[in-house]
């Protein structure tokens, strides 16, 4: 017989104390500082900011420390914190054309204004473990070269001039916000992008990969990938004008997709878009592929039943805090639920036995 019971407070307190001790690890090893995590685990910090949907490198580093490096737990901590913040307003849309680029590459054009700038990339490393990092050492300064002062133009602008790619005219309507209004389907593209940019990197990556393997194929090229800093401008109501209040590091990916034309659209290139907080290249490329796959309806393409085309599937499952909350709750006490299941199985067995005996 299972019964609901109260208790466990002492056990929970002891579990928390032990958790704190395990988090600290061997006290003979120096403790990590939040600043060390922020500076040296920057890509983990970026991921926690992007999926936590809050740009604050110190808080993300703190969350990683507290979560013992469990990034989804850290995202959860950031999401919980952000609900305590009053919302002062919205920024002006960031101008990624004016980005101070650390990295900017195009897979579609070799020679282009502004050039191919590799930035601090893993791409050309040999993926061999560097045992020199086992010891602490000085890093020699990176080389420098004279820099041009002008902003780097968007690659898609080049195609746009010739009318070879669909236009993306500016829109000024305030976007719906899924942190304020529950998601209702069908969701417009703005809402889908908000969900994808804070979505789980692994989930968005796998969906994007599935489109490359044929499940909703979109024939994507990376038209441009850029990483760098953009200014954040906010309108201050008491002043009546906008002021730059800081800057954020962003990764932007724009895909150029082959498109044969449809009943409603002429043959031209179409676009997928990704924009993610921090240096988050894999996520930004994945986001732009999934964005493009989700656009089948507005472009008059066929629905092939691919998961990446199904917005209900994508948007309902891309959030790792929602997913882990629902998934992990099944390990918590379900004593009463299970009791009823147990009684049901016993009754069915008894009935089956009675039937069998009656038949004999």
């Amino acid at each position: 017989m299972y019964v609901a019971v109260k208790g466990g407070e002492r056990a929970i307190d002891a579990a928390h104390a032990w958790l704190a001790e395990e988090r600290r690890g061997d006290p003979a090893i120096p403790e990590l500082t939040v600043a060390q995590i922020r500076e040296q685990m920057a890509l983990a910090v970026n991921r926690v900011m992007a999926e936590g949907s809050l740009y604050d490198p110190d808080l993300a580093a703190l969350a990683i420390k507290q979560a013992r490096g469990d990034l989804i737990e850290a995202v959860f901590l950031i999401r919980a914190y952000r609900t305590t913040l009053p919302r002062f307003g919205a920024s002006r849309p960031v101008d990624t054309a004016a980005m101070a680029v650390d990295r900017r590459v195009s897979a579609t054009f070799k020679d282009l204004p502004g050039g191919q700038v590799l930035g601090p990339t893993f791409d050309y490393t040999h993926r061999l473990l560097d045992f020199a990092l086992m010891a602490e050492s000085e890093v020699p300064p990176a080389p420098t070269a004279a820099a041009a002062a002008e902003p780097v133009p968007h690659v898609t602008g080049l195609l746009d001039r010739d009318g070879l790619i669909e236009a993306e005219p500016p829109g000024e309507d305030a976007p719906a916000d899924l942190t304020r209004t529950p998601l209702e389907l069908p969701a417009d593209r703005a809402l889908r992008l908000q969900a994808l940019t804070r979505g789980d990197e692994g989930f968005v990556l796998s969906l994007a990969y599935s489109t490359q393997r044929g499940y909703g194929r979109t024939h994507a090229f990376v038209g441009e990938l850029r990483i760098g800093r953009v200014a954040v401008e906010v309108e201050l109501p008491e002043l009546g004008f906008a002021v730059e209040i800081g800057e954020v590091e962003l990764t932007e990916c724009e895909t150029v997709n082959q498109f044969k034309g449809s009943k409603t659209e002429p043959p031209q290139f179409t676009r997928g878009y990704g924009l993610v907080m921090g240096q988050s290249e894999r996520k930004a490329i994945s986001m732009s592929l999934v964005d493009r796959a989700l656009r089948w309806q507005e472009l008059g393409e066929d629905f092939t039943g691919a998961p990446a085309q199904d917005q209900e599937f994508v948007l309902s499952h891309c959030d790792n805090v929602q997913a882990t909350g629902f998934l992990e709750h099944i390990k918590l006490p379900h004593y009463v639920d299970f009791q009823s299941e147990l009684e049901l199985v016993r009754r069915l067995r008894a009935e089956a036995t009675a039937l069998r005996e009656a038949a004999e």
């Binding site: 919302r87 307003g89 109501p237 008491e238």
Partner: protein, 191 residues
């Protein structure tokens, strides 16, 4: 009455997190116990009672559309609201909150009452009254043990609102540094 304020920039909470938490608790209690009068403090806005100013500071921000009715729709108050709450001003039909004296809020059928799937998408009316005492029309319903009494400006509009339940608007009455609430669930009778 409040002393005239020299600037639309004064009159905010001194300790925003704590002051807002206290005021929020008072509004919550007032909604949970219709007719019961609570004292609140912390806000001071040009031409408003301290209670109404405190409610605005507590419940409104840049994401809550606010409608100003009648004489309260004036430049000094608009500037105070812009600085302290950032609440966008809106027409009656689009507002999440409305502020005014009872005659200026008429007809109250202009205000949002929610939708069957989302009854919460309704307006809360903050009504400045001359007098707020536990006498007058009889209140019964959720949150009231037997009956309560409250000096309401009228009863017909509240009876009509109750008939819409679970849709309808909610009311916060403010006077000086005191407030009371009349949620849509309360039954109002003349006596």
């Amino acid at each position: 009455m409040n002393a005239p304020l020299t600037s639309p920039l004064a009159g905010g909470f001194a300790d925003p997190a704590r002051d807002a938490a206290h005021a929020f608790r008072a509004v919550l209690d007032a909604m949970a116990r219709p007719g019961r009068i609570h004292a609140v403090s912390g806000g001071a806005a040009p031409g408003l009672s301290a209670a109404a100013a405190t409610v605005l500071l507590t419940l409104t921000d840049a994401t809550t559309a606010l409608h100003l009715a009648g004489a309260l729709d004036n430049d000094a108050l608009r500037r105070w609201i812009a600085f302290h709450t950032g609440a966008p001003l809106a027409a009656a039909a689009d507002a999440g909150f409305a502020l005014g004296r009872w005659p200026d809020l008429q007809p109250v059928t202009r205000f949002r009452i929610g939708e069957p799937a989302f009854p919460d998408r309704s307006a809360t009316l903050i009504v400045e009254v001359e007098r707020l005492e536990p006498d007058g029309p009889r209140l019964t319903g959720p949150g009231i043990r037997d009956t309560a009494r409250l000096s309401l400006p009228e009863t017909a509009a509240f009876r009509a609102n109750r008939a819409l339940f679970p849709l309808g608007f909610d009311i916060i009455l403010t006077c000086g540094d005191r407030l009371a609430a009349l949620p849509r669930s309360t039954i109002v009778e003349d006596c």
